[in-house]
Symmetry: C2
Subunit: 370 residues, 2 copies
Amino acid sequence: TPIYYRPTKAVIDLQAITHNISSLQNYIGPTIQIIAVVKANAYGHGDVEVAKTAIEAGATMLAVATPDEAVHIRENFKDIDILVLGASPHTFIPFASAENIILTVFSTEWLQLAQQYTPLLNQQRLHIKVDSGMGRIGVSTKEELMELYTIINSSDDFLVDGIFTHFATADEEDSMYFDNQATLFKDFLGALPQKPRLVHVANTATALVKDPSLHYDAVRFGISMYGLLPSSYVGTKLPFPIKPAFSLQTELVHIKKMQAGQSVGYGATYTAEEDCYIGTIPIGYADGMIRKLSGQEVLVGGKRAKIVGRICMDQSMILLPEAYNVGEEVVLIGCQQQEEITIDDWAHKLQTINYEVPCVITARVPRVYK
Amino acid sequence: TPIYYRPTKAVIDLQAITHNISSLQNYIGPTIQIIAVVKANAYGHGDVEVAKTAIEAGATMLAVATPDEAVHIRENFKDIDILVLGASPHTFIPFASAENIILTVFSTEWLQLAQQYTPLLNQQRLHIKVDSGMGRIGVSTKEELMELYTIINSSDDFLVDGIFTHFATADEEDSMYFDNQATLFKDFLGALPQKPRLVHVANTATALVKDPSLHYDAVRFGISMYGLLPSSYVGTKLPFPIKPAFSLQTELVHIKKMQAGQSVGYGATYTAEEDCYIGTIPIGYADGMIRKLSGQEVLVGGKRAKIVGRICMDQSMILLPEAYNVGEEVVLIGCQQQEEITIDDWAHKLQTINYEVPCVITARVPRVYK
Ligand SMILES: Cc1ncc(COP(=O)(O)O)c(CN[C@H](C)C(=O)O)c1O
Ligand SMILES: Cc1ncc(COP(=O)(O)O)c(CN[C@H](C)C(=O)O)c1O
């Protein structure tokens, strides 16, 4: 493990991830496979370590967003099945075939371009993406689906290994849009002369709170593998407790007594109303703690303290409840003594979703594992 | 150069950086040194390539925020002077001494802890940080300064190589707070028995629009090295034109005709009012194009197109002005034909400063250079 001199780090609890996967497996039963969604550097948790943990916990496939992410996973794991959920350029096909990476297909044009690489080293496994209402990628008519299916089946170099779709509103209480998507997918699936090996439609929300028939052959487990809820609605119907894996911490690098009337930070926007202690922490917006988090609370000495003034690129100032020493631990996300600050707290402050928070913690922040 | 299969990339124009540095050198004159501020992965532009360009353009020192950034620069550049602007733990001192990395000092306690590593391999150069009003790090009384200066001078292992401060409001029209900081620093400097080798106080705004006497021995050139303005006020007083270096582009990976009434994206929040073309681009919030940018315009075929619906983790949808083919270039930041979208446009949409935008474009987006 490399040495980091700056005390700022994200601490990832891999046991929490193991717990979340085992609990899901227990809930869906042993015959349904788990596809661990480790795209986007495992939602910012670190792709390699999370992938390792997920495989050990029983996941049979890893899903990534881009071909480049698949390459990175394959460099570290020789045997596990990898599915690229997003578009891959046809230029990636020779590599994918050689490295046994499963690709998503949703265009006949792409398949025609794919022919130029045949014969392939290995038969290229493909999952057909159906756009049942997400409006992102996928075939959206049965005719397109059948055309695609037929072209693939007519070539020895390609195989329809799976078919899938993705829901736009699985985490919402109102299920009308969701039901329409589910029905449409079922209808498309029924049109195929033969069921592919792996049919999968369920993201976390679908896996946890929708009809178990939608588990099909496998569920794609993303956000709750990391111990976060897809939505507060899903939180009200959770079949098992989940444990968050991500925490973020640093240390005080400077403490100073400020006199009433003195100001702090760019624009001198925060002025002390009375004499107080100001601490400086070595984390800023270039770490992904974006400026909009000014005013957010952190934990120090088991107490809450506010970020005051504007967040700088590499540092931030906090109003300390009392004098502490350099080196005192500061928790930005996670628990300290009786207190806790969650990713959801950050998401609330940022008016965004919890998914975004760890993804945007930049590469400058080392991920360390416990 | 590694191969990237996903077409999303940040293209960095190193000639623009050269131009900005040369123009500054021309403006401040040949006797004032330029410290290139390459912290935070060179404000997201890529530390190694920017450092190389800055050195070639005449910068005599590189400034970073953290010891870890200094280590990375030193791995790539054996000889250049490197200054760590932020706090370094005392445990870093043996490495800093061995690798000739200049550290910032602002605490006698730290200096006392530093003694345990003596005798050092090389004399450790230190720059004293004065907190003249930023309220971040630094000594804030003349007594502390003198104490620090005396301890350092009494040891053969350490040298006062420089002294500096940082302004909180250099980019604002109102100069009262700024003038107070400048006066206080001058007073502190005058108290030293001998001027250190390198006195530096000027960030971009100070260097460009304040009294040239504040250039002292060197200026710390950050934001405008990258061709961005510290503030619109500074823009009204620029002594030379600057050129932006950062652009962000991708390609369409899917195009579909949508019927009026059909919806797009998570939550199905965008519904087509009339039949239209929707394009999908492989960039999302895990790339640092955060969800708040929903509704932002991008450029395609020389025309403006809006991001519709919620931005996903790895993909986004845009309302196309007409049908395009897969592979069509999409510019998110930069120029395309007659149109331009700037980092300032993003900052405006995000209600933040331009500094934050490239810093938060995550490591998943490769930086390529032209
Ligand atoms: C195709 C696909 N399957 C499965 C998942 C896992 O979803 P969840 O994390 O809710 O379990 C995602 C996540 N999507 C992200 C969030 C996105 O595209 O924005 C996905 O795009
Ligand atoms: C000590 C110091 N010197 C010089 C600079 C360069 O400033 P500019 O980019 O305006 O030229 C910075 C940047 N600071 C960043 C922006 C921060 O701490 O938030 C700095 O912290």
